[in-house]
Each structure stands twice: as structure tokens, then as C-alpha cells.
Symmetry: C3
Amino acid sequence: MFHLLDIIGTMAFAMSGALTAMNKKLDPFGVFIIAFVTAVGGGTLRDIMIGRTPVGWMQDLNYVYVIVIGFILAILFRKKFDRLRTSLFLFDTIGLGVFTLIGLEKGISVGLHPVICIALGTMTACFGGVIRDILCTEIPVIFRREIYATICILGGIVFFLLRKLDLDNDVLYLTTSLVIISVRLMAVKFKWYLPALEQK
Amino acid sequence: MFHLLDIIGTMAFAMSGALTAMNKKLDPFGVFIIAFVTAVGGGTLRDIMIGRTPVGWMQDLNYVYVIVIGFILAILFRKKFDRLRTSLFLFDTIGLGVFTLIGLEKGISVGLHPVICIALGTMTACFGGVIRDILCTEIPVIFRREIYATICILGGIVFFLLRKLDLDNDVLYLTTSLVIISVRLMAVKFKWYLPALEQK
Amino acid sequence: MFHLLDIIGTMAFAMSGALTAMNKKLDPFGVFIIAFVTAVGGGTLRDIMIGRTPVGWMQDLNYVYVIVIGFILAILFRKKFDRLRTSLFLFDTIGLGVFTLIGLEKGISVGLHPVICIALGTMTACFGGVIRDILCTEIPVIFRREIYATICILGGIVFFLLRKLDLDNDVLYLTTSLVIISVRLMAVKFKWYLPALEQK
């Protein structure tokens, strides 16, 4: 079940990368690389920083296959994405929840402090998108608009609070994901956003 | 003493990151991330490249606290930064000296050649700023203006020359930092800069 | 022989980095860093991802020397590069072949799947240029124009197909490099390119 959600999230991230790259009129190789990096970039950065190498996707070809499928789907349906926007957004939100959890878990498994684990969860969920935007020479969208990373941080705090209650792991994971997913859905529906900090 | 200077440098770097991000009108999360990356980015890259993982700031929460404080100060005083410019510049220069030393020491502790240690020192001091500028889609300022990295390289050379004299470590550190700090102050005062290399 | 080609490739990559940086009117330090990163960036990323640290160039000063020489040559001859374009292109193509092979070999030595080894070979050959372009705030040229990375992937496939024939290693290396080099020469001569994927 968890693995299925990981696959859905990876595919959604790959498709979001492919779409951004096609908007920039890149060639198919560029589109593929940006799909790839969007999907695995956050986890790669996390694995590198905690020293779990070779990084995750190098040891499980399923990620490569899922990204290739996401890339092909994004190309085939590229003219229909306006209609698919809602489904894609849902998948992306599932990815946000699942990737945050994976980052939290990895941090715990290396014995890091909860604050650092939350940083790792946020990095796993958000930095694929940051690298995608940098490769397309855009200021990362999560630094400018939308409550996105903030939700991962919130989810991480909920996770560690619940963890003190000695809940079953499945309940813990499910609750954390649902918090992240539902806050994101509400944030978009009610247009919550963080105001820009200006100097003047 | 050395640790105090490390803290001053980290805070100065975090504030310089926060200011750059606020100039780009980022939201608070974006400002925080760029403050964070400016402060720890150089050391993170160094630790990753020499294989000291989990990277430094993941094992010492003090860095996180210092950066959070720097971030909050930068937001609170963001309208007064013109008047604070001189203090900030001094702190930043202290950071330059201290971070270069830390990078040199880490390189030596892993048994690397002096040339590589100097590269690590320069990277520690300068690459937080490089990543900051990339995340803001600017060509890194240290590639364009100001003698900055060149001073770290000079400091590294002085460090290894003095090291042959079998000085006390404290004297060695102090002298190297003072060289870096005073050359930087002079470079800015007397407007030393490297001319751009043009092709035509 | 192989090592000589590695040196030629490294120098060509350093020079291409220096030229790009000079086009952006960077100062000498910026030009040097971008020459350095172009030459070793791909291999550094590969070593970090597979956990071979300290990364390659930190353990072999020859890379540093070669890059310094390439940097100096690029500055000295910067006004004559139009006439040298063909030689530089040839060197760069040799680098493409050699770096792909080195990446493939490193992947095999860590016991990774052929698909991942091909990714590592492509990354070794292409990501120095990607980082170069990002540091100059350009969308990476290999995502936009020219069949470049695609040739590395093709070379990797040829490599693993030939490898099943139980050939001598030298023959295997030579054939793979020649495939990469000759396909690149043909791609440029006959103006093969991948069409941009557009959404509308």
C-alpha cells in the first residue's frame, strides 16, 4: 500500500517535471532528465547528505521504470493536461505526503534529531521541484507562491507529536499523510498563502 | 572563542541570505531556506565531497538555532539594513575567515593534499553564497565582482606556509584569520577587484 | 593511452567552461571555477551518488594541473577561438567518449545494474556542462539543442551489448569510444537534432 503510494507520487512528480520542461520547449532528452530529477532529486539529496549511497533509485530499478512511464504519459497526453489538472494535482499531493514520510523515516533510521528529520522529510518532498525549477532557470516556485514546504514541516511536527503516543506505525503513517494531504487541499481551495517579505 | 566566531559567521551568512531572498520578494519559507543554504551550503558541499556524512549541521542543532535567530533578526530589522550595513559586512568577513579555516582543517583531517585543502577552505567559505545566488537565479556575485574567493585562496596559502614554522595552532589560526579579514577589509576599502575577462 | 585521452577530455571540458564564462564577462576567479566545475562536475556528482569519497579529483592532483593549464590556454588564446573551434570540438568529443566509459566502469565496479551504469556514464560526460550552464544562469544547452547526452546513452547500450561477446577490455573500450565519437561527428555534420516537445 505504502509502496503503491510511493509509485503514484514518483509518477506524479515525473509528470510535473516533464510538463515544466515542455513549457520551456526543451528537447526530449531535456524533458526526460527534468522529469527524472523532479521525481528523485529530493530523495537523492537526502541520501547524499546522510551518506546512504549508492542513492536509493540506483538500487531499485522500479523508480526508473515508473519515471519512464510518467515521461511517456506526459508526452502522449501533453495537449490534454488542462483537463487532467485535477488528477495530477491529487497525485502530486499524495507524493507530497508519502515523500515527507519517507524522509522522516530515513532520518530516524540514521538516528538524527527530530528537527533534522523534519528537514529531511521536507527536503525529500520539495527539493526535486527546486532542482527542476533551477534547471529551467526559474526561481523555485515553492519559494514564491503556495503553502507547500510549510505543510511538510507541519506534517513532520504532527508525526513526532503522534509518535509520543506510541501508536501503531500504520496509524502513525496514515494520520501524518492525511494531515499533509488535507491541509494542502484546503490551502489550495481556500487560497492560503504566505505573504512575500519585502524590504521596503 | 573559535566556536563563537563560527556562530557569528553562520549568523552573518544566514542574514545575508535572508536579505538577498527578501530583495527577490520571496515568501517567508523561501527566505528561510535561502538563509539556511547560504549559512551551511559551503560546509555541506565540502562534507559531501569528502564523505563526512551525515553532514555537519545535521549533527549539531546549534547551527539550526543560530540560523533561525539570524532569519528572525533579518526580518525584524529588514527596513534598517542600510544603517546596519557596516556591522553586517564585518560579521560576514569574520565568517569568511573562520569558514576558510574550518575547511582547511577538515581537509587536513582527511589527509588531503594542501592544494585540495585550500580548495575545500575556499568552498566552505564561498559556496553558500554561490548556491544562494543560483537559487535566486543570479550569476554568483563572487564570479563577477569583488575579490572574495581569491582572499580565501591567499589565506590558505598563508596557512600552509606558516604551518611549516611549527607554530602553536592558536597562533596559526589567528594569523590566518587576520590575514583573510584584513585583506578583505582593504580590498573593499581600496576597491581592489579582478577585471572581467572578455573575449573581444 | 586511456589516461592520455582522459587528460585531453578534461582539458577540453575546462576550456569550454572557461570560454562560456568569459562570454558572460566573469572575473578570472569565476572563469577558473567554471572551468573547474565543467571539467570535474560530472565525475564529482557520480562519485558523490555512489559514495566514492573523497571524490576523484581530490585524490589525483593531475586533474587540478590539467585544468589550470586549460584555463591559462583559454585565456591566452581567447581571441583566437574562432579559428580553434574545430580542434576544440574534436577534443570535447574525445572527452565525451572517455568520460562516458569512465562512468560506465565506475558503475560496474560498484555492482550496479547496466541501466544505472549507463545513467552514470551519461552523467559523467554531460553534467559538468549542465552545472556550467546553471552557474551561468542558462538553461543547459544539452537540454535544448544538439544530440549529446543521447549519444552517451547509445554508447552505453553498445558497451553492454559488446560486453556480452566477451571481448578483450581494450577492444571493448575502443569500440565504445569510437561509436560515441563518430556518432557525435555525424550528428554535428548532418545536423541531427531532437525536436523540441511543445505543449500547444
